[in-house]
């Protein structure tokens, strides 16, 4: 019995030294005037509390495991020249700061907060304004980026970096951040086994979310809207996208999601509203599209002939100009039990499933895929007549491309 108590005590003291270290204060009237100074004097596991105020500290390098905590958003200003915080240690926490005006460079990627090959870093509840790159993770593992608000000011692609930029990382949690006016809202390259949850990425100059070679990540309940090119994902397998919302990505070359060379992935429960193209797929294979809602898109789905085993099941297609368009005879993919608002069939046995198949590809959409200039005939009497004729007497649209069991009523999604 006694032995146990002693053991607990010993453990308690051990941790005390390590995790509950000392507290250092930074502020006009505090013991430290600058954050760098405090970091310099801190021990492993110390906490540095920063009072409100404006701190012009050039570059703050955090080279030991400390917690940097801002009180009422003290302002760290990079004077348009410097990288504001560089994290060069594991187990660092940065919380509650307002970071402003990082440098801008076309040679190096200057960020508001940059993590250099470290583990267990937490960046939470900060505001980043007018930074070139926002939060930059390089070779980071098991880090959390939570509830930060990132807003850049610049208007052109050259002058702007990505909001949350991750390169060669693993096991990240990116939760509840909001990113706007950056080049890409969230950018991943070689990032694996990570969770991206409840972020909002909007009004970015290029993509709301952009990733490649980032396998086995999950994107859940994020909101991507009004990005000038939507969302673009490439060369990745094992993508899970659940309950995200892709909205108002409207314009030339603008997509809800642009998918290229993606395989073994789930796209489920997402809502695609008012996008020029809801999902564009090229070279995709073994993708499961399920329970998504497509409303008011130009084209809901554009599946190129290079795709295979894309199964589209139990989705709602409502008020899209084109439901599905393709450039080839797309028999490698399946459509099943979707609701199509353009379906004109009947259901005699009243089992909720239409008795005649629905062909989601219109003749005109195929014409456009083959010959985009034919778009000059958009909304002309002739094209609608062509579509009607093709519906009655299918001849050109791919024979195999049909939903054998179209639903009579929309699914509640």
């Amino acid at each position: 019995m006694m032995k146990n108590y002693i053991f607990i005590l010993v453990v308690f003291f051990l941790f005390d030294a390590d995790t509950f270290g000392h507290v250092l204060h930074v502020g006009k009237l505090a013991s430290y005037r600058s954050v760098s100074q405090a970091v310099h004097n801190a021990q492993t596991g110390d906490s540095i509390f920063v009072e409100p105020g404006i701190y012009l500290e050039k570059n703050i390098v955090i080279d030991k495991p400390v917690s940097l905590i801002g009180i009422n958003f003290p302002e760290l200003d990079g004077e348009h020249k410097y990288e504001i915080i560089s994290v060069r240690s594991d187990n660092v926490t940065i919380r509650g700061f307002l970071l402003k005006n990082s440098g801008i460079s076309s040679l190096i990627d200057i960020a508001g907060i940059k993590v250099y090959g470290r583990r267990n870093v937490v960046i939470a509840g900060n505001k980043l304004q007018g930074t070139f790159f926002g939060i930059y993770m390089e070779n980071a593992v098991n880090c959390r980026i939570e509830y930060n608000q990132l807003a850049a000011h610049t208007a052109n692609e050259q002058q702007s970096g990505n909001g949350i930029h991750c390169w060669k990382c693993d096991s990240l949690c990116i939760i509840g951040n909001s990113v706007t006016h950056h080049r890409d809202g969230i950018y991943f390259e070689f990032v694996t086994n990570s969770v991206i949850w409840r972020n909002e990425s909007f009004n970015n100059i290029r993509y709301g979310l952009h990733f490649m070679f980032s396998h086995n990540d999950a994107y859940i309940a994020n909101l991507f809207h009004n990005n000038s090119a939507g969302v673009s994902v490439m060369f990745t397998h094992g993508v899970k996208m659940f309950n995200n919302i892709f909205e108002d990505n409207w314009g030339d070359g603008c997509y809800g999601i642009f998918i290229k060379e993606i395989s073994d992935s789930y796209i489920s429960g997402n809502k695609f509203r008012r996008n020029t193209t809801g999902i564009y797929m090229e070279g995709a294979s073994r993708i499961h599209l399920e329970k998504n809602l497509f409303t008011n898109n130009g084209s809901a789905l554009r599946i190129q002939a290079s795709c295979m085993d894309v199964s589209t099941e139990k989705n709602n297609f409502i008020a899209n100009t084109f439901d599905v368009s393709t450039n080839g005879s797309l028999v490698m993919n399946t459509f099943e039990k979707n609701f199509w608002d353009k379906y004109e069939g009947y259901d005699l046995n009243r089992d909720g499933i239409g008795d005649v198949p629905y062909r989601p590809v219109s003749l005109y959409s195929m014409i456009i895929e083959k010959n985009p200039t034919a778009m000059v005939l958009f909304r002309s009497f002739m094209t609608s007549l062509l579509d009607k004729t093709e519906k009655v007497l299918p001849g050109i649209t791919p024979e195999g491309l049909k939903d054998e069991q179209p639903l009579m009523k929309p699914l509640s999604l």
């Binding site: 130009g298 008020a319 200039t373 778009m375 005939l377 002309s380 009497f381």
Partner: protein, 255 residues
């Protein structure tokens, strides 16, 4: 001349068809705006009406009216009046009353529900198309003596402008698939006022984003001041050419 226009207009307005046309337009546009859940979709549906129904009604009604006015024309020609003026008065009367119909029938709902630049350009296009097709009708009616044949030709002309022309365009697009035709398309649309109107209206709408690269080329042209003026001139030519040709023929026609 104004006196004759006045008589033509009173005569047309006494005709119940124009009244019915106005009410039909009004009913359709109002129900479109009420049924569709948003205004831009209502406008999109109205676009089809403007591009199909308006030319059809304009050309058929005008053709029939000219044939039915043979007596009136004969009476006028034996009077001390210039033939050109008689003809132009007929044209003006038709153009004014058809435009008026469209203005009331579609214009009031547009102003009520969609008083935007899209709404107004649609209104303008409707009016211009009404006038163009009245002019085309006058040309076919003056060339062809036989009423039934003349009406037939008018229907064919409508079919050509609203359907066959686009078919030919599609054919050309596929025949010359390997060439960049986007710029040529801008020129080709000039040969069909319905296409010109459709593209002009579409470019103002959100859906123009669907038109991709082709749309961008068109926007580059029609969006500029020069492009806009050229378009306007082309549309005016579409009114002036058939009207002028028909007047010339009428001037020498034996009655």
């Amino acid at each position: 001349m104004i006196k004759i226009i006045k008589y033509v207009i009173t005569d047309i307005l006494r005709n119940k068809i124009v009244m019915a046309y106005t009410i039909f337009l009004m009913a359709i546009s109002l129900s479109l705006f009420n049924l569709e859940d948003n205004i831009s979709k209502g406008l999109l549906s109205l676009l089809n009406i403007t591009l199909i129904i308006v030319p059809l009604v304009s050309i058929i009604f005008s053709t029939i009216y000219i044939y039915n006015s043979a007596e009136f024309i004969e009476l006028m020609v034996s009077q001390p009046l210039q033939r050109k003026k008689i003809w132009m008065s007929l044209f003006a009367g038709l153009a004014i009353s058809l435009s008026l119909s469209f203005c009331i029938g579609a214009g009031i709902p547009i102003v009520l529900y969609a008083a935007s630049s899209i709404g107004f350009i649609m209104l303008a296009m409707g009016i211009i198309l009404s006038i163009i097709f009245a002019a085309v009708a006058m040309l076919s009616a003056v060339i062809i003596r036989d009423k039934a044949k003349g009406i037939g030709i008018s229907v064919l002309l409508w079919l050509y402008f609203s359907l066959l022309f686009d078919g030919i365009v599609l054919f050309i697009l596929f025949q010359f698939e390997d060439y960049p035709l986007e710029k040529a398309m801008v020129a080709i649309t000039a040969f069909n006022p319905i296409d010109l109107g459709r593209i002009l209206i579409l470019l103002k709408m959100d859906v123009s984003a669907m038109m991709g690269y082709t749309g961008a080329i068109f926007r580059d042209f029609f969006g500029t001041q020069v492009g806009f003026i050229i378009t306007l001139v082309i549309l005016l030519l579409w009114i002036a050419t058939p009207a002028w040709m028909s007047a010339r023929i009428f001037n020498k026609k034996d009655l």
